[in-house]
Protein backbone atom coordinates (compact mmCIF):
# COMPACT_ATOMS: atom_id res chain seq x y z
CA UNK A 1 0.00 0.00 0.00
CA UNK A 2 2.90 2.30 0.83
CA UNK A 3 4.11 1.93 -2.70
CA UNK A 4 0.89 3.24 -4.15
CA UNK A 5 0.54 5.99 -1.54
CA UNK A 6 4.07 7.26 -2.04
CA UNK A 7 3.64 6.97 -5.78
CA UNK A 8 0.59 9.19 -5.71
CA UNK A 9 2.32 11.82 -3.56
CA UNK A 10 5.32 11.83 -5.88
CA UNK A 11 3.02 12.02 -8.85
CA UNK A 12 1.26 15.11 -7.53
CA UNK A 13 4.61 16.66 -6.73
CA UNK A 14 5.72 16.09 -10.33
CA UNK A 15 2.47 17.51 -11.62
CA UNK A 16 2.44 20.59 -9.43
CA UNK A 17 6.09 21.37 -10.07
CA UNK A 18 5.45 21.11 -13.80
CA UNK A 19 8.40 18.80 -14.24
CA UNK A 20 9.90 19.73 -17.60
CA UNK A 21 10.37 16.13 -18.72
CA UNK A 22 6.77 15.21 -17.85
CA UNK A 23 5.53 18.37 -19.53
CA UNK A 24 7.48 17.58 -22.69
CA UNK A 25 6.13 14.04 -22.81
CA UNK A 26 2.57 15.32 -22.33
CA UNK A 27 2.87 17.93 -25.05
CA UNK A 28 4.31 15.42 -27.49
CA UNK A 29 1.46 13.01 -26.74
CA UNK A 30 -1.09 15.71 -27.49
CA UNK A 31 0.72 16.79 -30.62
CA UNK A 32 1.09 13.30 -32.05
CA UNK A 33 -2.39 12.07 -31.22
CA UNK A 34 -4.02 15.42 -32.07
CA UNK A 35 -2.40 15.55 -35.51
CA UNK A 36 -3.19 11.90 -36.14
CA UNK A 37 -6.84 12.52 -35.17
CA UNK A 38 -7.10 15.47 -37.56
CA UNK A 39 -5.69 13.38 -40.40
CA UNK A 40 -8.06 10.53 -39.59
CA UNK A 41 -11.03 12.93 -39.52
CA UNK A 42 -10.18 14.26 -42.95
CA UNK A 43 -9.75 10.84 -44.54
CA UNK A 44 -12.33 9.00 -42.43
CA UNK A 45 -15.20 11.46 -42.90
CA UNK A 46 -14.53 11.87 -46.64
CA UNK A 47 -14.39 8.19 -47.45
CA UNK A 48 -17.06 7.22 -44.89
CA UNK A 49 -19.47 9.75 -46.43
CA UNK A 50 -18.60 8.69 -49.96
CA UNK A 51 -19.26 5.03 -49.19
CA UNK A 52 -22.49 5.93 -47.39
CA UNK A 53 -23.81 7.94 -50.34
CA UNK A 54 -22.82 5.82 -53.32
CA UNK A 55 -23.91 2.49 -54.68
CA UNK A 56 -21.24 0.33 -56.28
CA UNK A 57 -20.61 -3.39 -56.70
CA UNK A 58 -18.82 -4.86 -53.69
CA UNK A 59 -20.08 -2.09 -51.42
CA UNK A 60 -20.99 -4.54 -48.66
CA UNK A 61 -17.53 -5.99 -48.76
CA UNK A 62 -15.99 -2.52 -48.40
CA UNK A 63 -18.31 -1.74 -45.48
CA UNK A 64 -17.32 -4.98 -43.76
CA UNK A 65 -13.63 -4.11 -44.29
CA UNK A 66 -14.16 -0.69 -42.70
CA UNK A 67 -15.99 -2.21 -39.76
CA UNK A 68 -13.18 -4.74 -39.28
CA UNK A 69 -10.70 -1.89 -39.45
CA UNK A 70 -12.43 -0.27 -36.46
CA UNK A 71 -10.94 -3.04 -34.35
CA UNK A 72 -7.50 -3.02 -35.96
CA UNK A 73 -4.91 -4.20 -33.34
CA UNK A 74 -2.35 -1.39 -32.81
CA UNK A 75 0.55 -3.83 -32.69
CA UNK A 76 -0.33 -5.08 -36.16
CA UNK A 77 -0.37 -1.50 -37.42
CA UNK A 78 2.94 -0.91 -35.62
CA UNK A 79 4.41 -3.96 -37.31
CA UNK A 80 3.21 -2.94 -40.77
CA UNK A 81 4.37 0.66 -40.45
CA UNK A 82 7.75 -0.54 -39.14
CA UNK A 83 8.17 -2.91 -42.11
CA UNK A 84 7.26 -0.18 -44.58
CA UNK A 85 9.54 2.41 -42.99
CA UNK A 86 12.41 -0.03 -42.30
CA UNK A 87 15.70 0.99 -43.84
CA UNK A 88 15.29 -1.61 -46.64
CA UNK A 89 11.52 -1.27 -46.77
CA UNK A 90 9.53 0.42 -49.57
CA UNK A 91 9.59 3.79 -47.77
CA UNK A 92 12.90 3.30 -46.02
CA UNK A 93 14.48 6.10 -48.06
CA UNK A 94 12.33 8.61 -46.12
CA UNK A 95 14.31 7.83 -42.98
CA UNK A 96 11.41 8.55 -40.66
CA UNK A 97 11.31 5.37 -38.57
CA UNK A 98 11.67 6.18 -34.84
CA UNK A 99 10.41 9.74 -35.27
CA UNK A 100 7.19 11.44 -34.07
CA UNK A 101 6.12 11.54 -37.74
CA UNK A 102 6.16 7.74 -37.87
CA UNK A 103 4.01 7.70 -34.72
CA UNK A 104 1.55 10.11 -36.32
CA UNK A 105 1.31 7.87 -39.38
CA UNK A 106 0.72 4.74 -37.27
CA UNK A 107 -1.85 6.43 -35.03
CA UNK A 108 -3.67 7.94 -38.04
CA UNK A 109 -3.90 4.45 -39.53
CA UNK A 110 -5.43 3.17 -36.29
CA UNK A 111 -7.92 6.05 -35.93
CA UNK A 112 -9.02 6.39 -39.56
CA UNK A 113 -11.17 3.23 -39.78
CA UNK A 114 -12.81 4.15 -36.47
CA UNK A 115 -13.76 7.60 -37.75
CA UNK A 116 -14.70 6.14 -41.13
CA UNK A 117 -16.96 3.47 -39.68
CA UNK A 118 -18.75 5.93 -37.41
CA UNK A 119 -19.12 8.48 -40.25
CA UNK A 120 -20.52 5.81 -42.52
CA UNK A 121 -23.08 4.78 -39.92
CA UNK A 122 -23.92 8.40 -39.07
CA UNK A 123 -24.58 9.44 -42.68
CA UNK A 124 -26.53 6.26 -43.40
CA UNK A 125 -28.73 6.86 -40.37
CA UNK A 126 -30.00 10.15 -41.84
CA UNK A 127 -33.48 9.91 -43.43
CA UNK A 128 -33.26 8.61 -47.00
CA UNK A 129 -35.31 11.45 -48.44
CA UNK A 130 -33.12 14.09 -46.80
CA UNK A 131 -30.72 13.92 -49.75
CA UNK A 132 -33.56 14.50 -52.20
CA UNK A 133 -34.89 17.31 -50.02
CA UNK A 134 -31.51 19.06 -50.08
CA UNK A 135 -31.19 18.64 -53.86
CA UNK A 136 -34.66 20.11 -54.39
CA UNK A 137 -33.60 23.10 -52.32
CA UNK A 138 -31.20 23.77 -55.19
CA UNK A 139 -27.99 22.38 -53.71
CA UNK A 140 -25.06 21.26 -55.80
CA UNK A 141 -23.76 17.80 -55.01
CA UNK A 142 -20.97 19.32 -52.94
CA UNK A 143 -23.39 21.53 -50.98
CA UNK A 144 -25.59 18.51 -50.35
CA UNK A 145 -22.73 16.46 -48.90
CA UNK A 146 -21.68 19.37 -46.69
CA UNK A 147 -25.22 19.80 -45.33
CA UNK A 148 -25.46 16.05 -44.66
CA UNK A 149 -22.19 16.12 -42.71
CA UNK A 150 -23.49 19.06 -40.67
CA UNK A 151 -26.70 17.12 -39.99
CA UNK A 152 -24.67 14.15 -38.74
CA UNK A 153 -22.37 16.30 -36.60
CA UNK A 154 -23.38 14.78 -33.25
CA UNK A 155 -22.60 11.17 -34.13
CA UNK A 156 -19.48 12.43 -35.95
CA UNK A 157 -18.37 14.03 -32.70
CA UNK A 158 -18.65 10.59 -31.12
CA UNK A 159 -16.33 9.45 -33.91
CA UNK A 160 -13.79 12.13 -32.93
CA UNK A 161 -13.93 11.02 -29.29
CA UNK A 162 -13.56 7.35 -30.17
CA UNK A 163 -10.69 8.03 -32.56
CA UNK A 164 -8.74 10.30 -30.24
CA UNK A 165 -9.43 8.12 -27.20
CA UNK A 166 -8.21 5.09 -29.11
CA UNK A 167 -4.84 6.53 -30.06
CA UNK A 168 -3.89 8.70 -27.06
CA UNK A 169 -4.06 5.53 -24.94
CA UNK A 170 -2.41 3.30 -27.55
CA UNK A 171 1.07 1.98 -26.74
CA UNK A 172 2.03 -0.92 -29.01
CA UNK A 173 2.40 0.91 -32.30
CA UNK A 174 3.91 4.01 -30.71
CA UNK A 175 6.70 2.09 -29.05
CA UNK A 176 7.40 0.06 -32.20
CA UNK A 177 7.59 2.95 -34.67
CA UNK A 178 8.60 5.74 -32.27
CA UNK A 179 11.20 3.86 -30.27
CA UNK A 180 10.45 5.70 -27.00
CA UNK A 181 13.49 7.93 -27.41
CA UNK A 182 13.92 10.25 -24.44
CA UNK A 183 13.08 13.86 -25.23
CA UNK A 184 12.23 13.00 -28.81
CA UNK A 185 9.63 10.30 -29.32
CA UNK A 186 8.65 9.45 -25.77
CA UNK A 187 4.91 9.83 -25.13
CA UNK A 188 2.75 9.24 -22.05
CA UNK A 189 1.96 5.62 -22.80
CA UNK A 190 5.44 4.53 -23.83
CA UNK A 191 6.95 6.34 -20.85
CA UNK A 192 4.50 4.65 -18.49
CA UNK A 193 5.44 1.22 -19.81
CA UNK A 194 9.13 1.98 -19.42
CA UNK A 195 8.90 3.47 -15.91
CA UNK A 196 6.78 0.55 -14.74
CA UNK A 197 9.27 -1.99 -16.06
CA UNK A 198 12.04 -0.12 -14.26
CA UNK A 199 10.08 -0.16 -10.99
CA UNK A 200 9.70 3.66 -10.95
CA UNK A 201 6.08 3.41 -9.87
CA UNK A 202 5.83 7.03 -8.74
CA UNK A 203 6.71 8.32 -12.18
CA UNK A 204 4.51 5.70 -13.83
CA UNK A 205 1.56 6.70 -11.65
CA UNK A 206 2.12 10.39 -12.39
CA UNK A 207 2.13 9.69 -16.13
CA UNK A 208 -0.93 7.47 -15.78
CA UNK A 209 -2.84 10.20 -13.96
CA UNK A 210 -1.93 12.75 -16.62
CA UNK A 211 -3.09 10.37 -19.34
CA UNK A 212 -6.41 9.84 -17.58
CA UNK A 213 -6.84 13.57 -16.98
CA UNK A 214 -6.11 14.42 -20.61
CA UNK A 215 -8.51 11.83 -21.92
CA UNK A 216 -11.12 13.05 -19.46
CA UNK A 217 -10.66 16.77 -20.21
CA UNK A 218 -10.85 16.37 -23.96
CA UNK A 219 -13.90 14.16 -23.77
CA UNK A 220 -15.46 16.59 -21.29
CA UNK A 221 -15.15 19.43 -23.79
CA UNK A 222 -16.52 17.33 -26.65
CA UNK A 223 -19.33 16.01 -24.47
CA UNK A 224 -20.26 19.55 -23.51
CA UNK A 225 -20.61 20.48 -27.17
CA UNK A 226 -22.54 17.32 -27.90
CA UNK A 227 -25.01 17.66 -25.04
CA UNK A 228 -25.53 21.38 -25.55
CA UNK A 229 -26.34 20.71 -29.19
CA UNK A 230 -28.71 17.96 -28.25
CA UNK A 231 -30.67 20.13 -25.85
CA UNK A 232 -30.91 23.13 -28.12
Amino acid sequence: MDLIFEGIIKAFYLLIMLDSEVLGITLLSLQVSGTATLISLFIGISIGTLVALTEFPGRRFVVSLINTGMGLPPVVVGLLVTIFLWRNGPFGFLGILYTPLAMIIAQAIIATPIVMGISLAAIQALPKNLRLQILTLGATRFQMVWILIKEARLPLLAGVMAGFGGIISEVGASIMVGGNIKGYSRVLTTATVMETSRGNFDMAIALGIILLLLAYLINLVLTQIQQRERLR
Binding site: P127, N129, L130, L132, Q133, L135, T136, L137, G138, A139, T140, Q143, I147, K150, E151, R153, L154, E229, R232
Partner: protein, 366 residues
Amino acid sequence: MTNFSPLLETRNLAVKKGGTIILDVPSLSIQSGKILALIGPNGAGKTTLLQALAGLSKPPQGEFFFRGQPISSNHDLFQYRRKLAMVFQEPLLFDTTVFENVSAGLKIRGLKRGEIEKRVKENLERFGILHLLNRSARKISGGEAQRVALARALTIQPEVLLLDEPFASLDPPTRESLIEDLERVLRDTGTTTILATHDRMEALRLSDHLAVMNHGKILQIGPPVEVMNQPLDEFVASFVGVETILYGRVSKKERGSFLASIMGYEVEAVGEVELEETVVFCIRPENVTLAPFRPSEATSARNVFSGKIIKITPLGFFYRVQLDCGFPLVAYITGHSLENLSLQEGKEVVASFKATSIHVVRKRMA
Protein backbone atom coordinates in the same frame (compact mmCIF):
# COMPACT_ATOMS: atom_id res chain seq x y z
CA MET B 1 -51.61 35.62 -68.20
CA THR B 2 -51.83 35.52 -71.96
CA ASN B 3 -49.30 32.73 -72.30
CA PHE B 4 -51.21 29.50 -72.81
CA SER B 5 -48.26 27.28 -73.57
CA PRO B 6 -47.51 24.86 -70.74
CA LEU B 7 -44.92 25.80 -68.11
CA LEU B 8 -43.54 22.29 -68.03
CA GLU B 9 -43.90 19.48 -70.54
CA THR B 10 -42.52 15.99 -70.31
CA ARG B 11 -42.37 13.15 -72.79
CA ASN B 12 -41.66 9.46 -72.31
CA LEU B 13 -41.18 9.46 -68.57
CA ALA B 14 -40.53 5.84 -67.72
CA VAL B 15 -38.88 4.50 -64.59
CA LYS B 16 -37.94 0.88 -64.06
CA LYS B 17 -37.12 -0.76 -60.79
CA GLY B 18 -35.72 -4.26 -60.73
CA GLY B 19 -37.06 -5.04 -64.23
CA THR B 20 -40.64 -3.85 -63.63
CA ILE B 21 -41.91 -0.54 -64.94
CA ILE B 22 -43.04 1.58 -61.99
CA LEU B 23 -43.73 4.72 -63.98
CA ASP B 24 -44.92 5.08 -67.56
CA VAL B 25 -46.16 8.53 -68.52
CA PRO B 26 -45.91 9.14 -72.29
CA SER B 27 -46.68 12.85 -72.01
CA LEU B 28 -47.69 15.37 -69.41
CA SER B 29 -48.06 19.12 -69.49
CA ILE B 30 -48.29 21.36 -66.49
CA GLN B 31 -50.15 24.63 -66.91
CA SER B 32 -48.68 27.74 -65.36
CA GLY B 33 -50.33 28.93 -62.15
CA LYS B 34 -52.53 25.83 -61.82
CA ILE B 35 -52.66 23.14 -59.19
CA LEU B 36 -52.53 19.57 -60.45
CA ALA B 37 -53.42 16.82 -58.00
CA LEU B 38 -52.07 13.31 -58.54
CA ILE B 39 -54.37 10.85 -56.87
CA GLY B 40 -54.10 7.12 -56.51
CA PRO B 41 -53.59 4.35 -53.99
CA ASN B 42 -50.25 3.60 -52.33
CA GLY B 43 -47.76 2.34 -54.89
CA ALA B 44 -49.61 3.98 -57.80
CA GLY B 45 -46.46 5.84 -58.82
CA LYS B 46 -47.31 9.30 -57.48
CA THR B 47 -44.05 9.71 -55.60
CA THR B 48 -42.04 8.26 -58.49
CA LEU B 49 -43.68 10.74 -60.87
CA LEU B 50 -43.00 13.68 -58.53
CA GLN B 51 -39.37 12.66 -58.14
CA ALA B 52 -39.02 12.24 -61.90
CA LEU B 53 -40.53 15.71 -62.38
CA ALA B 54 -38.01 17.03 -59.85
CA GLY B 55 -35.24 15.63 -62.03
CA LEU B 56 -34.24 13.19 -59.30
CA SER B 57 -34.67 9.91 -61.19
CA LYS B 58 -31.54 7.87 -61.60
CA PRO B 59 -30.63 7.56 -64.39
CA PRO B 60 -32.34 10.75 -65.66
CA GLN B 61 -35.62 9.97 -67.40
CA GLY B 62 -37.57 11.31 -70.34
CA GLU B 63 -37.53 14.62 -72.15
CA PHE B 64 -38.31 17.84 -70.33
CA PHE B 65 -39.35 21.18 -71.74
CA PHE B 66 -39.48 24.13 -69.40
CA ARG B 67 -41.22 27.15 -70.94
CA GLY B 68 -40.74 25.41 -74.28
CA GLN B 69 -36.97 25.05 -73.84
CA PRO B 70 -35.57 21.52 -73.79
CA ILE B 71 -33.56 20.44 -70.76
CA SER B 72 -30.71 18.51 -72.30
CA SER B 73 -27.46 18.87 -70.35
CA ASN B 74 -26.64 18.21 -66.73
CA HIS B 75 -26.23 21.95 -66.33
CA ASP B 76 -29.76 22.50 -67.69
CA LEU B 77 -31.05 19.93 -65.24
CA PHE B 78 -29.35 21.69 -62.34
CA GLN B 79 -30.73 25.07 -63.44
CA TYR B 80 -34.18 23.49 -63.79
CA ARG B 81 -33.94 22.01 -60.31
CA ARG B 82 -33.21 25.47 -58.96
CA LYS B 83 -36.60 26.60 -60.29
CA LEU B 84 -38.53 24.09 -58.24
CA ALA B 85 -39.13 23.16 -54.64
CA MET B 86 -40.42 19.98 -53.07
CA VAL B 87 -42.07 19.09 -49.78
CA PHE B 88 -42.24 15.49 -48.59
CA GLN B 89 -44.58 13.66 -46.25
CA GLU B 90 -42.00 13.98 -43.46
CA PRO B 91 -40.93 17.59 -42.81
CA LEU B 92 -37.20 16.63 -43.13
CA LEU B 93 -36.08 19.71 -41.22
CA PHE B 94 -32.43 20.33 -40.48
CA ASP B 95 -31.22 20.06 -36.90
CA THR B 96 -31.00 23.81 -36.36
CA THR B 97 -33.34 26.77 -35.82
CA VAL B 98 -36.51 27.42 -37.79
CA PHE B 99 -34.89 30.51 -39.30
CA GLU B 100 -31.87 28.54 -40.54
CA ASN B 101 -34.18 25.91 -41.99
CA VAL B 102 -36.35 28.31 -43.93
CA SER B 103 -33.32 30.23 -45.18
CA ALA B 104 -31.54 27.07 -46.43
CA GLY B 105 -32.62 27.38 -50.09
CA LEU B 106 -31.59 31.04 -50.24
CA LYS B 107 -28.24 30.40 -48.55
CA ILE B 108 -27.56 27.65 -51.08
CA ARG B 109 -28.18 30.28 -53.77
CA GLY B 110 -25.83 32.70 -52.06
CA LEU B 111 -28.31 35.52 -51.40
CA LYS B 112 -27.46 38.48 -49.18
CA ARG B 113 -28.28 38.28 -45.49
CA GLY B 114 -30.78 41.18 -45.57
CA GLU B 115 -32.75 39.72 -48.47
CA ILE B 116 -32.75 36.29 -46.83
CA GLU B 117 -34.10 37.68 -43.57
CA LYS B 118 -36.86 39.59 -45.33
CA ARG B 119 -38.05 36.62 -47.38
CA VAL B 120 -37.84 34.15 -44.50
CA LYS B 121 -39.94 36.37 -42.24
CA GLU B 122 -42.46 37.03 -44.98
CA ASN B 123 -42.96 33.30 -45.53
CA LEU B 124 -43.09 32.40 -41.86
CA GLU B 125 -45.77 35.09 -41.49
CA ARG B 126 -47.73 33.57 -44.39
CA PHE B 127 -47.92 30.27 -42.54
CA GLY B 128 -48.59 31.92 -39.19
CA ILE B 129 -45.38 30.71 -37.55
CA LEU B 130 -43.27 33.86 -37.31
CA HIS B 131 -43.13 33.36 -33.54
CA LEU B 132 -41.15 30.13 -34.07
CA LEU B 133 -38.31 32.02 -35.82
CA ASN B 134 -35.59 31.26 -33.28
CA ARG B 135 -36.93 27.95 -32.02
CA SER B 136 -35.13 24.68 -32.63
CA ALA B 137 -36.73 22.71 -35.44
CA ARG B 138 -36.50 19.65 -33.19
CA LYS B 139 -38.72 21.26 -30.57
CA ILE B 140 -41.87 22.03 -32.53
CA SER B 141 -45.03 20.01 -33.19
CA GLY B 142 -45.63 17.92 -36.30
CA GLY B 143 -48.05 20.46 -37.76
CA GLU B 144 -45.64 23.32 -37.09
CA ALA B 145 -42.79 21.33 -38.62
CA GLN B 146 -44.76 20.75 -41.83
CA ARG B 147 -45.53 24.50 -41.95
CA VAL B 148 -41.80 25.20 -41.65
CA ALA B 149 -41.15 22.73 -44.48
CA LEU B 150 -43.72 24.48 -46.69
CA ALA B 151 -42.32 27.91 -45.79
CA ARG B 152 -38.82 26.64 -46.62
CA ALA B 153 -40.03 25.53 -50.06
CA LEU B 154 -41.97 28.72 -50.84
CA THR B 155 -39.15 31.00 -49.68
CA ILE B 156 -37.25 29.90 -52.78
CA GLN B 157 -40.16 31.39 -54.80
CA PRO B 158 -40.26 28.26 -56.93
CA GLU B 159 -41.80 28.24 -60.39
CA VAL B 160 -42.99 24.71 -59.73
CA LEU B 161 -43.88 23.38 -56.30
CA LEU B 162 -44.00 19.60 -55.81
CA LEU B 163 -45.89 18.33 -52.78
CA ASP B 164 -45.70 14.64 -51.87
CA GLU B 165 -48.54 13.85 -49.46
CA PRO B 166 -47.64 16.81 -47.26
CA PHE B 167 -50.63 16.38 -44.97
CA ALA B 168 -50.74 12.60 -44.74
CA SER B 169 -49.13 12.27 -41.33
CA LEU B 170 -51.06 15.07 -39.62
CA ASP B 171 -54.11 14.69 -37.38
CA PRO B 172 -57.43 15.97 -38.80
CA PRO B 173 -57.69 19.45 -37.14
CA THR B 174 -54.03 20.29 -37.84
CA ARG B 175 -54.40 19.02 -41.36
CA GLU B 176 -57.54 21.05 -41.96
CA SER B 177 -56.01 24.37 -40.89
CA LEU B 178 -52.81 23.69 -42.84
CA ILE B 179 -54.74 22.88 -46.03
CA GLU B 180 -56.65 26.12 -45.60
CA ASP B 181 -53.47 28.17 -45.20
CA LEU B 182 -51.65 26.41 -48.02
CA GLU B 183 -54.60 26.94 -50.35
CA ARG B 184 -54.54 30.67 -49.57
CA VAL B 185 -50.77 30.95 -50.05
CA LEU B 186 -50.85 29.04 -53.36
CA ARG B 187 -53.64 31.20 -54.73
CA ASP B 188 -52.00 34.41 -53.51
CA THR B 189 -48.64 33.57 -55.03
CA GLY B 190 -50.07 31.83 -58.11
CA THR B 191 -47.51 29.06 -57.67
CA THR B 192 -47.76 26.21 -60.17
CA THR B 193 -48.20 23.16 -57.97
CA ILE B 194 -48.27 19.39 -58.33
CA LEU B 195 -49.73 17.66 -55.30
CA ALA B 196 -49.65 13.93 -54.68
CA THR B 197 -52.41 12.69 -52.40
CA HIS B 198 -54.58 9.67 -51.77
CA ASP B 199 -57.39 11.79 -50.35
CA ARG B 200 -60.22 12.62 -52.79
CA MET B 201 -61.53 15.54 -50.77
CA GLU B 202 -58.08 17.09 -50.46
CA ALA B 203 -57.60 16.77 -54.22
CA LEU B 204 -61.05 18.11 -55.03
CA ARG B 205 -60.56 21.06 -52.77
CA LEU B 206 -57.10 22.14 -53.87
CA SER B 207 -56.79 21.20 -57.50
CA ASP B 208 -57.62 22.76 -60.85
CA HIS B 209 -56.72 19.50 -62.56
CA LEU B 210 -56.85 15.98 -61.34
CA ALA B 211 -54.81 13.03 -62.56
CA VAL B 212 -55.78 9.56 -61.40
CA MET B 213 -52.87 7.15 -61.24
CA ASN B 214 -52.53 3.41 -60.82
CA HIS B 215 -49.69 0.97 -61.56
CA GLY B 216 -47.42 3.81 -62.68
CA LYS B 217 -49.82 5.15 -65.30
CA ILE B 218 -52.03 8.21 -65.52
CA LEU B 219 -55.48 6.76 -66.22
CA GLN B 220 -57.39 9.99 -66.56
CA ILE B 221 -56.57 13.67 -66.29
CA GLY B 222 -58.91 16.65 -66.36
CA PRO B 223 -60.84 19.09 -64.20
CA PRO B 224 -61.81 17.36 -60.93
CA VAL B 225 -65.54 17.58 -61.55
CA GLU B 226 -65.15 15.99 -64.95
CA VAL B 227 -62.93 13.19 -63.68
CA MET B 228 -65.11 12.48 -60.67
CA ASN B 229 -68.44 12.60 -62.53
CA GLN B 230 -67.34 10.94 -65.75
CA PRO B 231 -64.73 8.38 -64.84
CA LEU B 232 -63.25 6.78 -67.94
CA ASP B 233 -62.76 3.31 -66.52
CA GLU B 234 -63.70 1.08 -63.65
CA PHE B 235 -60.64 1.86 -61.55
CA VAL B 236 -61.12 5.62 -61.80
CA ALA B 237 -64.80 5.16 -61.00
CA SER B 238 -64.06 3.10 -57.91
CA PHE B 239 -61.29 5.41 -56.72
CA VAL B 240 -62.63 8.90 -57.31
CA GLY B 241 -65.97 8.50 -59.05
CA VAL B 242 -67.90 7.49 -55.96
CA GLU B 243 -69.80 10.71 -55.31
CA THR B 244 -71.69 12.94 -57.65
CA ILE B 245 -69.77 16.23 -57.63
CA LEU B 246 -71.73 19.40 -58.26
CA TYR B 247 -70.61 23.03 -58.30
CA GLY B 248 -73.08 25.56 -56.96
CA ARG B 249 -73.41 29.10 -55.74
CA VAL B 250 -74.98 29.89 -52.36
CA SER B 251 -78.22 31.71 -53.07
CA LYS B 252 -80.02 31.78 -49.72
CA LYS B 253 -79.07 31.15 -46.11
CA GLU B 254 -81.57 29.73 -43.68
CA ARG B 255 -81.30 28.69 -40.09
CA GLY B 256 -78.81 25.82 -40.04
CA SER B 257 -79.06 25.16 -43.74
CA PHE B 258 -78.65 26.96 -47.04
CA LEU B 259 -79.77 26.81 -50.63
CA ALA B 260 -77.35 26.71 -53.50
CA SER B 261 -78.23 27.01 -57.12
CA ILE B 262 -76.84 24.29 -59.33
CA MET B 263 -77.44 24.74 -63.03
CA GLY B 264 -80.63 26.61 -62.21
CA TYR B 265 -81.87 24.11 -59.62
CA GLU B 266 -82.07 24.96 -55.92
CA VAL B 267 -80.48 22.33 -53.71
CA GLU B 268 -80.62 22.42 -49.94
CA ALA B 269 -77.59 21.50 -47.87
CA VAL B 270 -76.24 22.00 -44.36
CA GLY B 271 -73.07 23.87 -43.42
CA GLU B 272 -71.42 27.18 -42.63
CA VAL B 273 -71.06 29.14 -45.85
CA GLU B 274 -71.16 32.71 -47.13
CA LEU B 275 -73.77 34.05 -49.53
CA GLU B 276 -72.68 33.99 -53.19
CA GLU B 277 -69.82 31.66 -52.31
CA THR B 278 -68.93 28.80 -54.65
CA VAL B 279 -69.41 25.43 -53.01
CA VAL B 280 -68.90 21.87 -54.14
CA PHE B 281 -71.52 19.27 -53.24
CA CYS B 282 -70.54 15.62 -52.95
CA ILE B 283 -73.53 13.30 -52.96
CA ARG B 284 -72.92 9.63 -52.24
CA PRO B 285 -74.99 7.36 -54.52
CA GLU B 286 -76.28 5.24 -51.62
CA ASN B 287 -77.90 8.39 -50.15
CA VAL B 288 -79.99 8.97 -53.26
CA THR B 289 -83.44 7.35 -53.20
CA LEU B 290 -85.38 6.62 -56.36
CA ALA B 291 -89.18 6.52 -56.63
CA PRO B 292 -91.61 6.13 -59.57
CA PHE B 293 -93.40 9.44 -58.86
CA ARG B 294 -93.24 12.49 -56.58
CA PRO B 295 -94.23 11.77 -52.97
CA SER B 296 -97.59 13.40 -52.20
CA GLU B 297 -96.89 14.44 -48.62
CA ALA B 298 -93.81 16.31 -47.49
CA THR B 299 -90.91 14.02 -46.67
CA SER B 300 -87.81 14.97 -44.78
CA ALA B 301 -85.98 15.06 -48.10
CA ARG B 302 -86.46 18.52 -49.54
CA ASN B 303 -84.24 17.82 -52.47
CA VAL B 304 -86.60 16.04 -54.85
CA PHE B 305 -85.86 16.11 -58.58
CA SER B 306 -87.23 14.21 -61.50
CA GLY B 307 -84.80 12.96 -64.06
CA LYS B 308 -84.16 10.58 -66.87
CA ILE B 309 -82.15 7.40 -66.51
CA ILE B 310 -79.08 7.64 -68.71
CA LYS B 311 -77.35 4.40 -67.84
CA ILE B 312 -77.70 1.42 -65.55
CA THR B 313 -74.50 -0.46 -64.68
CA PRO B 314 -74.55 -3.65 -62.61
CA LEU B 315 -71.99 -3.54 -59.74
CA GLY B 316 -72.27 -6.90 -58.02
CA PHE B 317 -75.00 -6.71 -55.40
CA PHE B 318 -76.37 -3.40 -56.58
CA TYR B 319 -76.79 -1.27 -59.66
CA ARG B 320 -75.33 2.11 -60.46
CA VAL B 321 -78.02 4.30 -61.98
CA GLN B 322 -76.86 7.43 -63.77
CA LEU B 323 -79.49 10.13 -64.03
CA ASP B 324 -79.93 13.44 -65.81
CA CYS B 325 -81.98 15.72 -63.55
CA GLY B 326 -80.85 18.84 -65.37
CA PHE B 327 -77.64 18.13 -63.52
CA PRO B 328 -75.91 14.75 -63.32
CA LEU B 329 -76.76 12.47 -60.39
CA VAL B 330 -75.80 8.90 -59.54
CA ALA B 331 -77.78 6.50 -57.35
CA TYR B 332 -77.16 2.96 -56.15
CA ILE B 333 -80.12 0.64 -55.86
CA THR B 334 -80.49 -3.05 -55.17
CA GLY B 335 -81.52 -5.54 -57.81
CA HIS B 336 -84.75 -5.98 -55.89
CA SER B 337 -85.65 -2.27 -56.15
CA LEU B 338 -84.62 -2.20 -59.77
CA GLU B 339 -87.21 -4.89 -60.49
CA ASN B 340 -89.90 -3.38 -58.27
CA LEU B 341 -89.55 0.04 -59.88
CA SER B 342 -89.07 -1.59 -63.28
CA LEU B 343 -86.32 0.88 -64.06
CA GLN B 344 -84.68 0.97 -67.43
CA GLU B 345 -82.57 3.34 -69.44
CA GLY B 346 -84.52 6.28 -70.83
CA LYS B 347 -87.24 6.08 -68.20
CA GLU B 348 -88.30 9.06 -66.04
CA VAL B 349 -87.84 8.64 -62.32
CA VAL B 350 -87.90 10.80 -59.17
CA ALA B 351 -84.69 11.09 -57.14
CA SER B 352 -84.45 12.49 -53.63
CA PHE B 353 -81.68 13.01 -51.09
CA LYS B 354 -81.49 14.60 -47.66
CA ALA B 355 -79.86 17.98 -47.13
CA THR B 356 -77.79 16.45 -44.33
CA SER B 357 -76.42 13.71 -46.57
CA ILE B 358 -74.54 16.17 -48.81
CA HIS B 359 -70.87 16.66 -48.11
CA VAL B 360 -70.13 20.35 -48.67
CA VAL B 361 -66.64 21.47 -49.75
CA ARG B 362 -65.87 25.19 -49.80
CA LYS B 363 -63.64 26.07 -52.69
CA ARG B 364 -61.72 29.24 -53.23
CA MET B 365 -61.71 29.88 -56.96
CA ALA B 366 -58.52 30.61 -58.87
